[in-house]
Amino acid sequence: MSEPFIEVSNLTIGWGPDALLLEHANFTVDEGEIFAILGGSGSGKSTLLRYLIGLERPLAGEVTIKGVGHPNLEVGRPPFGVMFQGGALFGSMTLLENVVLPLTEWVDVPVDAATAMARAKLKLVGLEGSGDKLPSELSGGMKKRGAIARAMALEPPLLFLDEPSAGLDPVTSAELDDLLLTLKSVVGVTLVIVSHELASIFKIADRCILLDKETKSIIAAGPPSQLKESDDPRVSDFFNRRPRAA
């Protein structure tokens, strides 16, 4: 059996011993799959993502990517790209400049080549004509797609996406889903997605985990279609969009 792409072992995270979000979590992400982190509001999905990408240090446990512990984000080139929830595009730069930025930092190519590479990424995410716009001139969906283009600029084998479909209209959301499936199948990227957009998850995710706020643990793991049929009411209620019993 091949080594997992990401391995999370005995991970405990939170803002201190009295404010834990997740205790002793274990899961793996395989290379080339779309893996979703699900859970209700406040269950710590986005916070878990921050620990996976090394922005926060866990209280206990370990996260390894391809068998290696987290790189120092201050000095090295991370082996992944990240799309933050609001896009986090730099407001002082145009969209094109945002995508060119990592290329100028890490790839020693002339400006025209870096620009061509960035324009290709913008075309890939359907923002071909918007490179000269500032982030403030973009809609929420365009910001998210622009952020994916920037995260993809250095061709990382792994992409983390925080709520990629949240707040998008159904058509844009479906287009984004198709883009993620294309990145997986054609480019071969492994994707870890934080979301609670079930329609999107059922369409694109190979496997997922469900976080529970009450028990501070992972209460289910597996393909979304299987979890929908779970015997655990907490799991089946979530996947079938049923209100919790009083």
């Binding site: 790839v107 190519v109 061509a116 324009r119 990424k121 075309k123 890939l124 480019v187």
Partner: protein, 385 residues
């Protein structure tokens, strides 16, 4: 046919070197091996050099020996193809295996090469027109803001309970009490420097005692109000602009509006009022410590006793001198408050917009303070204050 198409040796030998090679052979540019973004610079050089002599005809970009290629390098190949097309050379990507072909398709390598439209540079007339329109829009914004402010004042006067007066004590503490140390220190140093400069001149004429007159009148009428206003502008004005600007870009001001709160009444009035309360008080502190600074210079370098200095100050400084400075300071405060809040309300464009408006607040307020000071100086002279 391509004009000059010599077969070239591989530009990057395989083996211990890079895991790829790029070689020109007749009507084809052969790419081999693993082409990844980490080698993008060398790959781009290889492609550019390999295609440098292609001026017309057809050149195939041969992918038949490409084992791995990523999207970044594929976009360079597509760009090279577009540049060839612009030079009148037909170029096709050939020989790709199924996996690579999927990436070729994804990056538009099998589409007709796109010709980028260069944006026409803005002409002089367009530039002047746009700048004029921007200035007019900014002026309209200022007039509109002042109108809203006037309406808010009338509204609060008619219905005092509608004013957000509860916020004023906290604002007074933030803009006033917290500013006392810096105001005291700088005004003291100002009086000290003023006294020192005056002492050197007055000593020559044996008019040592008159340093009290010079320091006292200049501090109360001009220097303390001006220095205090400058500090408040840099401290509280900038803070107001940044605070309201952030609220503006995060739609908090729009939220207030939708809840029926007039944002000018709710946010601008308390801030401006708090400054109008605080700045004269801070100016009064400035007057006192400024005179104290002059006293220390007189006592230490001019052999003027503190009692003599204070007696002379009392004779030289009239209530009207202090009042004239305090009146000015109220108008300074009004100007700082209005400019800071107007700039905050006009913010757009995220973090950069907030920074731009904060800078603009300080610069505009400083200009306004000096302008108002000049107007008051002339006005006092005319009415004999």
């Amino acid at each position: 046919m391509v004009q000059s198409a010599p077969t070239s040796a591989p530009l990057e030998p395989r083996g211990k070197g890079p895991p790829f090679s790029i070689a020109r052979a007749d009507d084809a540019l052969r790419l081999r091996g693993e082409l990844r973004v980490d080698d993008a610079a060398a790959i781009w050089k290889g492609i550019s050099d390999g295609l440098a002599d292609a001026k017309q005809g057809r050149v195939d970009l041969d992918f038949s020996e490409v084992e791995v290629i990523d999207g970044a390098v594929m976009s360079l190949v597509v760009q090279a193809r577009a540049e060839l097309s612009a030079r009148g050379v037909r170029a096709e990507l050939v020989g790709a295996n199924e996996r690579v072909q999927a990436l070729v398709h994804l990056y538009g390598g099998d589409e007709k090469p796109a010709r980028r439209q260069r944006r026409k540079a803005e002409g002089f007339v367009e530039h002047v027109g746009r700048a004029t329109a921007d200035v007019l829009a900014a002026l309209r914004g200022v007039v509109s803001f002042l109108g809203s402010m006037a309406a808010a004042v009338v509204g609060v006067l008619r219905k005092p309970r509608s004013g957000n007066f509860g916020e004023i004590p906290a604002l007074v503490e933030r803009t006033g009490a917290d500013a006392i140390p810096i105001i005291v220190l700088l005004n003291f140093l100002l009086g000290f420097v003023m006294g020192f400069q005056a002492a050197r001149q007055l000593e020559k004429y044996g008019a040592n005692l008159y340093v009290a007159d010079l320091v006292g009148i200049s501090v109360t009428r001009e220097l303390a109000p001006l220095m205090t206003a400058i500090i408040v502008c840099g401290r509280s004005g900038a803070a107001f602009a940044a605070e309201l600007g952030t609220m503006r870009v995060s739609e908090e001001i729009d939220a207030l509006r939708t809840m029926g709160f007039g944002p000018v009444r709710y946010l601008v009035l308390p801030r401006t009022l708090s400054l109008m309360i605080v700045v004269p008080i801070l100016t009064l502190f400035g007057d006192i410590v400024g005179i104290l600074g002059g006293l220390i210079v007189a006592a230490t370098t001019l052999k003027v006793t503190p009692i003599a200095y204070l007696t002379e100050s009392r004779l030289a400084i009239t209530a009207r001198d202090v009042e004239s400075g305090l009146m000015k300071s109220v108008v300074f405060a009004l100007a700082i408050g209005l400019i800071a809040c107007q700039q905050g309300f006009a913010t757009s464009g995220g973090a950069q917009g907030v920074g731009r408006r904060t800078t603009s607040t300080v610069v505009t307020s400083l200009f306004a303070i000096v302008l108002i000071d000049a107007v008051f100086t002339v006005l006092y002279r005319v009415v004999g204050i």
